[in-house]
Subunit: 397 residues, 2 copies
């Protein structure tokens, strides 16, 4: 597998565009991804009981035929908690996009992100659709889906399958409301491999738990989270079937792209100055390991300590104890970077200068060895800074 420069339209047969349509005050706020032919589609959606209209419509369409040919996205307004009018607006968004592309409405996926409870401004939508083009600026798609993100998040990889070179590209947006089961998190992944939607869904499902579901910014789960994967079969490779060596390699590609995007989202969490990675080793089972990793990375007290570059490991052990996981607390080692701060559940003296250097980095790794089993788990998050408060106290006004 090779990581290459590129964008969401790097896989064969895909194009994308992004532009300003009027959902926001100024920045790019509207984009689409279009495949030349209907593509196998797989999706994962928010676990929030309140689900935004565009997700309901998209999930329904993907369910029908397992295919999508286009995904249209707006940022600025989430079209969530907007009642019947919101549902009608989402269907209209799907219809108008299909009309423009001269395809069936059910082949159009939808995503919206932004403020909850405001109706979709349909004029902005029509304005956007009147200007958007096939073979537009694909890089602008990654910009058009952002909200409080400070940078675009893209990952492109290639992998040989026999004589065919398969390309997979992903873009994502994140920033706030990032937690349990995805969050104001949108990710779109395109691929030119030949794979059925069922097999694609399998590959997506088995990798989401260890990637997008293991990031947290503030513990809030959004009503609009979605990951969509489209594979249009343009490389004409032999179909990738489940339980084959090819499937494993395809799943690894997908895992790489998803983990890379997940870490980029965590690192660009609202107001974040550092990426925090937590590795849990020798846990009783994977779920316990992931629960502990995610609880540590989600603790406001751990996050503020890391913002302050303070090795306050007492807060880490406190989180391990309340994470709700099965564990023995008798023999725990904790490392910040390479430095042990607790061994066999007792404090360890460390060199203050070395620690300062470790905590001054852009990325801080916390390793927790439970000596309690064979399972491992990882999670990613960011520190909690003054800017997080600033951004969220003033988001609407």
């Amino acid at each position: 597998m090779k990581v290459i420069d590129g964008n969401i339209a790097s896989p064969l047969g895909f194009s994308a565009d992004g532009l300003y349509a009027g959902f926001k005050k100024k920045k790019l706020d509207f984009g689409w991804i279009v495949s030349e032919v209907p593509a196998s589609a797989a999706g994962v959606y928010t676990t929030n009981k309140v689900i935004a209209a565009p997700l309901i419509v998209t999930r329904e369409s993907v369910k029908k035929s397992g295919k999508l040919q286009a995904v249209v996205v707006n940022s600025g307004v989430a079209n969530s908690c907007t009642g019947l009018q919101g549902m009608e607006d989402a269907y209209e968004m799907q219809r108008l996009t299909a009309q423009k592309l001269k395809i069936e409405p059910d082949l159009v996926g939808l995503a919206s992100t932004g403020v909850i409870g405001e109706l979709l401004p349909m004029d902005a939508l029509k304005n956007g659709l009147s200007q958007i083009v096939i073979s537009g600026k694909a890089d602008d798609f990654a910009r058009a889906i952002l909200t409080t993100d400070t940078c675009t998040k893209t990952c492109v990889v290639t992998e040989r399958f026999g004589k065919d070179l398969v390309t997979m590209a992903g873009v994502a947006k994140g920033s706030g409301m990032i937690h349990p089961n995805m969050a104001t998190m949108l990710a779109f992944i395109t691929c030119d491999a030949n794979i059925s939607s069922q097999t694609l869904q399998k590959a997506l499902g088995q990798n989401v738990e260890t990637t997008f579901n293991q990031i947290t910014v503030d513990g809030d789960t959004s009503t609009n989270d979605m990951v969509l994967v489209l594979a249009n079969g343009y490389t004409q490779n032999e179909e990738i079937l489940p339980d084959t060596e090819e499937f494993e390699r395809f799943a690894q590609m997908l895992h790489y792209v998803m983990e890379d995007l997940a870490k980029k989202i965590a690192k660009d969490g609202e107001g974040a100055s550092k990426l925090i990675e937590v590795n849990v080793l020798h846990a009783q089972d994977s779920l316990s390991a992931r629960m502990i990793a995610k609880s540590v990375v989600g603790s406001s007290l751990v996050k503020t300590a890391i913002f302050g570059e303070d090795p306050n490991w007492g807060r880490i052990i406190a989180v391990i104890g309340y994470a709700g996981a099965e564990l023995s607390v008798a023999n725990i080692d904790i490392f910040i970077g390479q430095l042990p701060v607790m061994l066999a559940s007792s404090p360890v003296a460390f060199d203050a200068e070395e620690m300062q250097e470790m905590m001054g980095q852009d990325e801080v790794t916390i390793t927790i060895d439970l000596h309690d089993g064979d399972a491992t788990g990882q999670a990613w998050g960011c520190d909690l800074s003054y800017d997080y408060v600033k951004i969220n106290a003033l988001y609407r006004t």
Copy 2:
């Protein structure tokens, strides 16, 4: 029931003192409560799997005879995650206090709060014990147990039981690490009623879920949380027995004191500028109602919005959806103060000026009517401010 001015030594037969012993740099950090006779004792302890040494010792002692005659507390150092040495130090703290009071060690309860992972400075302890007196300044006890709290938290009530006037007093400390099942939260309640330790434990147990367990500051649960109640029978009232009218009135007293202290802890959360109260109405069951109330009051996005005085109710509905409670999301009303912002799950226009006034108050109430059953639940918390970040980024240094 009457609320009166007073302190932890207001009930008959109790005295208390607080002073500076050297656990902290400057502020009062050591105190005790002493009863003239052994008192019925009841306790609730942290649910964290990592439990600090003083809690282990206290729980063990309370279990033995159901009695305590004194409680000794230090702030500054939590004596948590301190291994075998920490346990030995806690037993020594109990022994030395008992020696000073000429009572059995098992009649001494212990509490420590502060930094995790540091050994108890035994010199400070000995220094404190050499100076502390019976019939000292009882008001200073409430000050001596504080950490990052900005004010003392006290509540005193009286109630007639036949010809006898029973007095109950509570003091608490809170501030950060306040969440699920109590948190860096200590509360001590004294009472001169005649009640057995079993009946006292029953009254405590049935009220903790709806009071101390329904507050959150940052979602972190400490290793040192504890609520201790002592009733020394000094009023010589007829013994309060379970399932009697007297028990109900006693439980109401206790509930009043606990709820009052819980709200004072929430309001004085680290960096807080406002108390947030969430009322959930017409839920399917009490647990669901409490889960939703506590999730809303614990959401970083809701907390920052309230700090910014921004009526961003979309975040509230998002939390309701991910709280993990059983509910129908079809017909939800949300009020901020008296103003409806969502009715029947659809947005409602509100007067911006009225809303501004509502959100400018010291206490903001959010009411959520689920129209989905008969149960209610409440929770209390505080806004998330720049100062929370400041306090916790620099706690140790």
